[in-house]
Every structure is written in structure tokens, then in C-alpha cells.
């Protein structure tokens, strides 16, 4: 439902018929070229090196690892995320530039996995950020990872047609919910260096759920971000 609204909004902006062709081309290229953030959040990361390297060669799908969140398109959450990691994962996610995709690998990202009784791990990834594709397994084999990535590529290519592959917009549109869940876990003074609301305003990605009581809470504690000078 929300997705449809968003799509309408996006389409409304585009009046030029050629724009759609252009958009489709961009989508096509986006689906063909994905930079994957190399972040081993959990044990599933052990199957990524095989998927990336010679035996299964991810690069033939146009996917290559990147080292910083700024450069990356895909955030692979490989298994359980401890609360401590989750903070960094959210931070990382927010630092990535849209369109950005989250892939939840392993059981743990869906319902806690085998660490379901652990006090230290978060149980449901999609409470904290929208997830595009899940890959089942504990851990999934490299082939399954590749299948998952291909599914993601399909979704991105058909972004506008099937209304998939744009889960990241929900993060902006429902920021209040996600923030609420994050605050529940990290405390009310939780704040990341990225100002999501400002970004949502800037790029016109606001939705009904962007603001709410949680964002109000955030506004109270939020400290303005000072540009940092770096000297050597």
C-alpha cells in the first residue's frame, strides 16, 4: 500500500515520456552493477568469500565487494546481529546512498535463529531496517547466496513494474517506526550521525510515517552535527 503511494509520487514527478525510458535504463544498470559492502556481521559471512572468489565468482553477476558504506549498494547482514553490532549496522545502513538494499542471510535475521534465547542478539532484522531479500540457510551455501543476489537483481530491474526492490524508501517513509524500535533497544538518547529526516525532506522521500512520537523524542536529544576538520 505504502509502496504504491510512493510509486505514484515518483511517477507524478516524471511527465516526460522519455523519462521512463531513462528510468528503466538506470534501473537496468542498477540491477547489473551492485557493490556489496564487505561487513561480516555474523557467522554467515564465512560463505561470502567463497561466493566472491574463484569458485563461485560473484563478479560475473556484476557484484563486487566494496569496503566502505558510502560506496556500497548492498548491505549483507550475514546472520545474527548482536545489539552492539546492530548499532553499527544501522549506522552503516544510513551512511549508504540510496538506492540501497539489505539482504538478510541465515535464519537469525528472520526470527532470531539459533541465538533466539540470547540476550545479546537482535532477533528480527526488519524491525530495524527494511529488508529486500532473505536467504534461508544456516548458513546458506554460496550458491544460495548467488540465487538470492539474482533475485535481488530481478527485483531491482522490475522496480517500477513489480513495486519491489525499493524497500529502502520505507526507511524514510516509516522512519518513526524504525526509530522507535531502535530506541527501544538502545535507549531514548539514541542518535546516529545521519539526519534521516533532513535527508527525507531533501529528496522528497517523506511519508506519513516519517514523523511521529519517536522522532519527536529524537528531536529533543539530537545534537547538531558539526562538520569535522581533519588535520594531519
Amino acid at each position: 500500500m505504502k509502496k504504491e503511494l510512493l510509486i505514484k509520487e515518483k511517477q507524478a514527478k516524471r511527465t516526460n515520456p522519455l523519462a521512463h525510458v531513462f528510468d528503466d535504463f538506470i534501473d537496468f544498470c542498477q540491477s547489473k552493477s551492485l557493490f556489496m559492502l564487505h561487513y561480516c556481521t555474523g557467522c554467515g559471512a564465512i560463505e561470502l568469500p567463497p561466493a566472491m572468489t574463484s569458485r563461485f565468482d560473484m563478479e560475473r553477476l556484476g557484484i563486487q565487494p566494496m569496503v566502505t558504506p558510502r560506496q556500497a549498494d548492498i548491505l549483507l547482514v550475514t546472520g545474527y546481529v548482536s545489539v552492539k553490532t546492530l548499532k553499527r549496522v544501522i549506522l552503516t545502513y544510513e551512511q549508504m546512498q540510496a538506492p540501497k538494499y539489505v539482504i538478510g542471510i541465515c535464519s537469525c535475521t528472520v526470527n532470531g535463529g539459533m541465538y533466539w534465547q540470547s540476550y545479546a542478539t537482535a532477533k528480527k532484522l526488519n524491525d530495524y531496517m527494511p529488508v529486500d531479500v532473505y536467504i534461508a540457510g544456516c548458513m546458506p551455501r554460496p550458491e544460495a547466496v548467488l540465487e538470492g543476489l539474482q533475485r535481488l537483481k530481478e527485483n531491482i530491474k522490475n522496480d517500477r513494474k513489480q513495486q519491489k526492490g525499493s524497500a529502502w524508501k520505507e526507511y524514510f517513509a516509516n522512519y518513526d517506526t524504525y526509530l522507535g524500535n531502535q530506541q527501544h533497544l538502545f535507549g531514548d538518547d539514541w542518535q546516529t550521525p545521519v539526519d534521516i529526516i533532513a535527508e527525507a525532506k531533501l529528496y522528497g522521500l517523506e511519508g506519513e510515517g516519517t514523523y511521529g512520537k519517536n522522532t519527536e523524542k529524537l528531536a529533543k536529544v539530537q545534537q547538531p552535527l558539526l562538520p569535522q576538520e581533519m588535520k594531519l
Binding site: V110, N111, M114, A136, G137, L146
Partner: protein, 612 residues
Amino acid sequence: MKKINYNDKGSILNPLKNLQFFARKPITEKLEPRPASASYRGFHINDMDKCIGCSSCQKICDNAAITMVEIPSIKEDAAKGIRNLRPAIDYGRCCWCALCVDICPTSAIELSREYVHVCDGDETDSYFVLPQENGIHGLNFEKGWTKTEDSDLLDRKRRPMGEMEPEERIDNFNEIVDGFTLQMAVEEASRCVDCGLCEDACPAHMHAPNYIRSIYEGNLEQAVEWMYETNPFSHVCGRVCTHICEDACSLGRADKDGNKSSQPIAIRWLKRFAMDGVSKTKIKQIAKKGMARKKSGKSIAIIGAGPAGLTTAFDLVKKGHKVTVYEALPKAGGMTRYGIPNYRLPEDRLDQDIEVIQSVGVEIKYNVRVGIDISMKQLEKDNDAVVVAIGLQNGRSTRVAGSDNKAVVKAVDLLRMIPKGDKFEVPKSAVVIGGGNVAMDIARSLARLQKQQFKKVNVTVSALEALGTTFLADDEEVKESLEEGIVILDSRGPRECVIDKTGKLESLHTVKVESIFDEQGRFAPKYDESDSQFHPCDMVVEAIGQMSDVPILGDELTEELEWNRGRMQVDENGATSVNWLWSAGDMVKGPDVINAVADGHRVANDIDKYLK
């Protein structure tokens, strides 16, 4: 191996040798998922027919990934131990350790070689799967990790029960079975997967898993406590129960190839062990638990101090009512005393059960024959409710020619005489007609008497049913009988008791049975008349069933009641069509201690409800 020294500097040109890889082929695999190895642990498959819903997989699952789902379209069968529960797996928890496979008592759940499942962010529902034969996506992948003999986590073999050797036991009525030692009992108890199929199968719903667990923990008192929650005849049941529970036991299932190498838990023997291990006084304390504090002031009369009657009495007393039991014979116990030989159920054990029941406040009046010493009318007047639990004391007759001869006796009558100590002439040779446990009991009792008197056993059992397949008596009974020198002639129907001119029984004439039931499943034996045999004997014992002695009710009451084929018509709670009268036990439910006990509970509950 080439040695490389720490001080080797290496060469700048060596790496360039790898330019040869321009000429070598890449080793990258094809993009499609490779087939997994033969024992791969992929997604689950479950053979819905083999699965019995025991939920062992759920218990072993370390990740709480398995939910038991009720599937109404699957028919439940408590006696066979089949539930309509099936495991559903949460792939948001599963870790593919295959412990569920290795513990599955029936090898129903297995892992396939399928390993790819991908879904979009909003399709997490697809992570919750009810595995079936064709796998998660219906793609019929080959089986991966299945249970092997090595990987089986369950202990399939029963701890062997010690028995007296045939020579040792044949000339006396001492109890045959040794009983478990503590070590054995704990080991046997540890085999239990706690599925509770036994509890569902048990007519009285005894909490078998719970007391097995308690025995495993070495807490026999706790175990007895669990037993007394549902069964005041635990000593009796620990020895002679028909153990329907063991037939339903999830461990007693045939394995993959149909072999029945897996043996059920010896629930009955465990019960026996626990009961024997706790002192009488302690049991009495335990039995008193849950007594109502307040007396209700109502009184109930129960006719017949058999298992059904006494169970009803036990329950009602505990609920605060006053109960009087009227027993025609000098001792309580009914069929358990006068129908079961001592070598299976020593009398002192039965006495103990009855003593415990009496200790909670059940009053038993012996040697009182209702209808003669006291009338039904009187009972109705003196009490708020009356229960008839007189059981089946009269044996049925085959009614073949010559069966009215005095050398043709009924098993119940004979069995009753043995513990009573009534003297009767032990026949040199006897033929028992019937293939049930009663037939075995009488045959083996006779054998013992023969051994005592003539040092020689000559008992033949002639049964309609075929050994090994349709035979009614327990396998153990058959085995022990054969050990004791009893000849069993299966698939033979009685034709005639041949009487000689002097009126003396000469032999039994039997013919071969072709089939017992007709197509509709009704009892209609077909015989092959050409195959006939004569078994010379001094006595023929008919052990083909019993019936109730209803005339004690009096004509008036008999008129008032509704009847169904010679049995009193009762509802599921044992209530008759007369509002103050209930009926329980064998006379309405068929011959079996545990059924009688179960019936007793039902009736007691219903009466309690009625009185409130």
C-alpha cells in the same frame, strides 16, 4: 615438500611464473546451484503417513524452531498411537543440525538435498514451512540426511526382563517375572521420548510419561503419586495390564524397512517397579492426597468390589462422599482376584491395592449378595446413587454338541476355584478352547496343577485365530505357554465335544478355520470341514468370553432399564436410563482391568456432578 627457510629472500620473478594462468581454465562453477552431497542437510521433508505426531522433534530442537500443527484431515487413532499433529519448521530458527531426523522414532522426518530458498523482504511467511514428502517448494529433491543405525539417537532395545526358567516355574504359582532392578528401570525409563502417546492410548489416561520420568529421576514416590492420580489399581496394572500404552508407544514402530526391531518402553514393568519400590504406608499417604476436606453428606452404594467398583468408590470417597461397596464373595478384587492366576498377579499385591483403597475410607461389605441379602430397592432408598459394577462372572459357552457335559467347564469358573482353594479334580489332559489371555491363564494354571500332581503337562489350546497374526493373547503369554509345554493349535474351530457312551468326555473334535470374519468384518468363521482332528482329553475348558449375571437387579428394575444385546444400555459416562443408577466396568465395557478403572473414573465423575 619444498622447504622454505626463514632467511630466503624470495625472488621478484617467481610470482611472474603465474602468468601461466592466462593459459589455464577458470575453475568457476556454473551459475546454477550444484546438486548437494548424498547426506546433505538441506530443507526438511516429512512423510506424513509415517509421522505420528509424537513431537520428539520439537523437544530435541535446540532452537525452538518446531511448532506442532494440528491437521484435522489426518485421522487420529489413540490405540495405534497416531496423532494429527505434524511438525512445522520455522526456518527463521532452524540450524539444520538434523537432530530432529536422528531422534524421530518413526524416521518420518528427514532432510532433503534442497538448499535454496530465497524470498522477498515481505514474504517471511515462506519461512514457516509444513514439510511434506515433496519438500519446501514441491520440487521433489532427493533425500539428503536420513537416519542411519549409527546416527539414531534412540535406544531401540528394551532392557530384558528376567523371568523364571520354565522348569523352575511350571510346578508352582509363584510370580514368573523378576521385575526390574533399579539400574535397569532407570535405563529403561531413560529410553522414553516423552511423547505421551501412551497416555492418550491408555483408557484411564495414566500419566505414563510423567511417572516414567520420575522413575528416571529415581523419585519413585513421585512416580506413584502420578499413578494414583489416575489409577488406584497400580499394583494390578503393573502386572497384568493389557498395556495398550505399549502398543501405542512411539518407540515400538516398525523401522524404514518394516522390521519391528524397535521395542516399546516396558511401561507396565516400570509401573510395577515403582509400586514395588514404595512402602505401603507411603502409598497410603499418597493415595490420600487430594482428599476433599468437607464431607458432602451424600452416600453411594456400589455393587461389586472389582476394579471398576472400587475405582468408583475410591474417587467418590476422595470427593467427600460416603461409599459402601457390596461384595458377594469373601474377598474384594473381583476378576483380578478370581480370574487371574497367582503366577501373574500375586495375591498380596492385589491385597495391597485394596488395602490402600480401603485406607482412604471405602467401606466394603463382604459376602453380601445383592438381590438376595439386600435388595436393589433397599439400596436405592438408603443411598443417593447406586453403581452396578458386577463384571462378567459367567462364562460363555461354545454350545457345540456335548458342551453340556460336566467335564466341559468354563474358564472363569475354574479360575475362580483355584485361588479360592476349592478342590477340583485336575484332569490328566485338557483342551482349552479360546485364544485370548484368559485361555492362556487357564491353560497355564492347569499345566501347573498337572505338573504338581502328575509331573507332566498335557494341555492343548485350540484357538480360531492364527498364531503370529491374528492371535488374541499377548505374544509373551504365548511364548511362555509354549515354554511351559502347552500345545497351541491355532486356526482350529471346535465342532463337537465327543462324549462316549458312559457320558465321559472322550475328545474334542476340531476343524480347520479358513477365515474368521466375513467381508463386513462380522464374526462368521468359515471352516474347512475336510481337515478335522480329535484331541483326546479329560476336560474341555471353554475360554471364549464371559457374560454378566444380571438377574441380581430384580425384575422390576430390569424392566425399567434399557438393554442392548444383553448389555445394559449406558451413556458414555456410565449412566443408565434410570437416573440414580450407574453401571461400570466389564459388564458394560468389556474385560480389561484398565478399562474398568477408566470406567470407574468416568462414573465417579458423573455421579459427583449429578450429586452436586
